[in-house]
Assembly symmetry: D3
Homo-oligomer: 252 residues x 6
């Protein structure tokens, strides 16, 4: 039996609170069980140097955990003077995933930064960051679209992410920290509303995994992502209608 | 007229929510108007090298702002690779102020770190950090006192802080960001429950200030601190009874 | 038609030269087409602090490119004063993958560092680093096993890695730089001799990918890895016999 | 009895030597007892980016101690790779204080950097730095005023600083290191020639302090500052006549 | 007797392999005994800021050792976050020496960076870097001269470097690591084809050295440099004819 | 004619003031013309990790320039966050040179750090640092020798350094900044009282130099060093008698 009496293919209680920051162009507090992440979207009317004059925009992300987001306190990266490899890996993933559903030309020469700050961590912080950031991003993009009367809405599909893994030889959806630390295989699945993959990162932490196990885990991931996208739509309200939902996703 | 219709000697709406973090030994979300700070206290059963073997403990603080806590986004200090002078100044102030009301010998060889993370900033973040941290600290100290059956409660008095300043030649209590940026004189007052000063930092930003103005500002500060301490007591519930309240404070 | 007249499922010319460094416990120059990586294995009779006294060893990796390994010169990370996120991601991947086929208890309290220095880069440097490092690691482990008369050979299976991707809607094996920069989907596959997955990292750079596409790409990856393992065996000579080859791998 | 037979309200022997550097636009060696600081003023015909095109100038300061300025050797900040919080706090204070008596518009688009390098430290280095820097600044400003025929002399008042504190329950003026390390309360007072406050930083190091104690300490500070300003005038010679002395100051 | 049966005034086996990198404008693998260095020359059509608009170019160098180039593994400078003093000293020396035989005006506003990466170190890496870099530089300069039809060939003379030293009171040419670590006196000699000195760095590691000893060592150095220059000419093939050989050098 | 009417083989006015710092075990202000350097020696009763338990001591040096020691202001290395290559090169040179005349076994397990802080720079700061540091070192060593009743005085010879160079084809002794910046050849000579070389660093900045020129420059250097050693003896007073003066030096 899983803690909290969850089924193997069941998400933790999910809550997306919007507009949690009075300055940001989009902001969200996403809670998945005891994992809590504040995602804010900041719009700037300029692009990074490597994109100047190309008529397209950029979306990037930064990720951080408060020192006591975890069981024992972690030293601040600002105090260490540099980012850990884990942080870099995660923020590169978030940015890359979000960009895959943004039409950067339609966005125009603008930069959107998603800040994902983990207030409390209980496993799945990177996937919660992606899922929450998508909503904050959509609010910010909508603000731009309205203000600048964009003819094309720059978001091309929904995007959400979830972790799956094999614990005690059982494939599980949405691992919390305790499950994650015992997982033999660990996988993060980032998918669109069309049911296609944007990013797949599977690691055989304790043992390699077979093609058959992979197939089962991907199925679990799909289930979870669809549920997350339903919650995103609800959080977005009328804005949800502006985001195209890929065919595959509709079918399910 | 002040924004929100406040009187010159009136605090912004104040809210102290306790136990906001499931891991920390003490935690508080303090809101003063639109300024919101999460304060967590972490207890470690060891002291910094310079205190080893002296039979006394230590209290220290770290301070940070989320990048979009402010009107426009600030670069993360972790990304810059170093703390700004402002951050260092603030976290040194918070630690120094808290230590002034802790009996470090009674605490024993333990280290308590207060993390003050500003979720949203609208002026007065350093004073809110001190006021909120005191409550988080008291929860953590109480946990130690109960668990280790300390004979003396290691907190010696209440402690709170508030900003005062001169805006358009009017002395005001508890400046928000807009007022702060127009202030000619700016002062942070840290006081104990006994009504004595622990720290006083006054700056003539735009013009020097006279002894008479100083006196008036200190009076405003006293008023504010007493109100804050009342709120701290309420937030602490039964623990409040374990903290001695200095005589001066009782008189008021 | 691919450059060099390669078939879609064909590796580039592969060459593994062993013992290229007179000091290292194991060393290899791996060439896959124009990609050239020197991999050295360094054995130290001590483990990182977090493993002290647990009777087990550690395997870690570092990755770097010479400044002119690429078309245009890159600034040295030593001159910048910090590692890029890309480097951190890659060296974490190499270390994690190698550890998955090492019996750390059998290794004993020793640390092995694999240094992967890219002399020339033409795509696939991270997968070449894994494939080459495995050989350097096996030499180093064999030296330990012989010298300390280990009863169990600490390597549990073969390990190799290859990239696959979708370019112009065609799935290709072992992308060179030109193909990689046009790839819509990009995937790195790390597999054991048993044909199971150790790490799977797929990214929809330009568009998401379907389950069917994923399946096809994994098949391509399997083909490539088996060929790489054959080359590793040849390079290892008699040491190859000491490494168990998983059943699945034998079947294929 | 104080060391050197000083009275409680008596400054240490004070000596201001001018023109100690053949390159700087203004330079001073200030000695207060055994505390010795070289202050140089450097003028640059450009302003920091945030002030460009606003027709006004800037004054900033840097502070450092030679490694063996103190009883035991301190590691160089250049070797540590970053400034300590103490240094940042001090140099921010010096710059802020000096700017309060400079008419930045009258200065024009120029930057003046005050470098305060402590050759030997025996308490009160930050206040000596302010007092000495003011003189170096006045020399540099005078050079600008003469060369560019400024119609308004850009310095608006005198400025000096002194420390006061409570040692063994006695309020003392101008603490040396030994006194400072025993002080229960420690305060730095920065005042203008008009007798008004520019900066006030009081800390209850060992115990809080009352309003009455504060009043007494401020009186001591005033006494000291006036004496320092008299010495500044003498050091400045004919330039002294160009600096307006506020009314309050004249009265005393 | 020296290891490998060398005479006291005999170089180690020398091998210069050209065009070892398919991207660089010039590249060389230089081997002196077991010391192996890859030198690449990168041409950029811009100069550092301090040279902008002066109609002249620049030549600079960077130096690094692979972690396991040496007997025991060295930490990467990129991981330490900064260059060692030794590395800085060496790369400044290489750049300065090369510039002494380049007509920077004839080169035009271009920057050439020489990257010297030590693959294996057995003494004399800095002198091998200079000797090898000169060849890589000549290839790169020739490419520029041909492409831009320069009227003057920008290289003014040959340049090579060698180490000499006193080991067990015997002066030796071209010390390997073992000899170098026992040397009482150690000297690096950088000379032109004209037989004149460009750089001379002699250190009495264990004892001072007399004028007479210096004279003898300089003679040894001359011998070695002439042999190195002969090898450079061979490696350069027809390009060798474009480089003037100073008179003194021709005489010998 | 040289500025100040100096002859080509004449030193600038030299002044060595001792005991300029009340805390350091040895301290000196050395002035050579307008070049002024404070040298302090700090003794610590411990050695660096690599020397622990070997019964011998260590001597090391650090070098820095005040920001306005030069014509135009230089950024502080502490503000840049790292040492320049020039600083590293110089401080390595000073330490190496001083160690050559110290019997580290006789010194015992102690570390002496020489801090050379350039107050004003007009050429020759590194050689003045060596010459001044030797005197500060001798004071510190004498203090140790007396206090610990060492049987052997740990300094084995005198040590001083001077620059020579070729300006407008004339060899000159002791170049000031103006001469140095026009020098075609520049050389630093570090010699013992015995007239032998400890370090020789010659650079053909603008053109290579011949053996004949080298010989002439070394002669100039010898002359200068002997004069410097005479001044060191005077500054050391009775301590001078404890330092053996090599035979060669006595002869001249």
């Amino acid at each position: 039996m899983r803690s909290n009496g969850r089924n193997d293919d069941q998400l933790r209680p999910l809550k997306i609170t919007t507009q949690v920051n009075k300055y940001a162009e989009g902001s969200v507090l996403i809670e998945m069980g005891d994992t809590k992440v504040i995602c804010t979207a900041t719009v700037e009317e300029k692009v990074p140097p490597f994109l100047k004059g190309q008529g397209k925009g950029w979306v990037t992300a930064e990720y951080s955990m408060l020192p006591r987001a975890t069981q024992s306190r972690n030293q601040r990266e600002a105090a260490r003077g540099k980012l850990t490899g884990r942080t870099m890996e995660i923020q590169r993933l978030i940015g890359r995933a979000l960009r895959s559903v943004v039409n950067l030309h339609a966005l125009g020469e603008r930069n959107i930064t998603l800040d994902c700050d983990v207030i409390q961590a209980d496993g799945g912080t990177r996937t919660a960051s992606i899922t929450g950031s998508f909503v904050a991003l959509a609010f910010a993009v909508n603000k731009i679209a309205v203000q600048h009367k964009l003819s094309v809405f720059p978001i091309t599909d929904y995007l959400a992410a979830i972790s799956v893994g094999i614990v005690d030889d059982k494939p599980l959806l949405d691992l919390n920290y305790e499950e994650d630390s015992k997982a033999k295989v660990d996988m993060n699945v980032v998918m669109t509303g069309s049911g296609e993959f944007v990013e797949l990162q599977g690691t055989g932490e304790e043992r390699p995994f077979s093609r058959k196990e992979l197939d089962y885990l991907l199925g679990l991931g799909e289930t979870g992502v669809l549920e997350l996208i339903a919650a995103q739509k609800e959080a977005l309200g009328p804005i949800a209608l502006k985001i195209p939902l890929g065919q595959a996703g509709q079918e399910v």
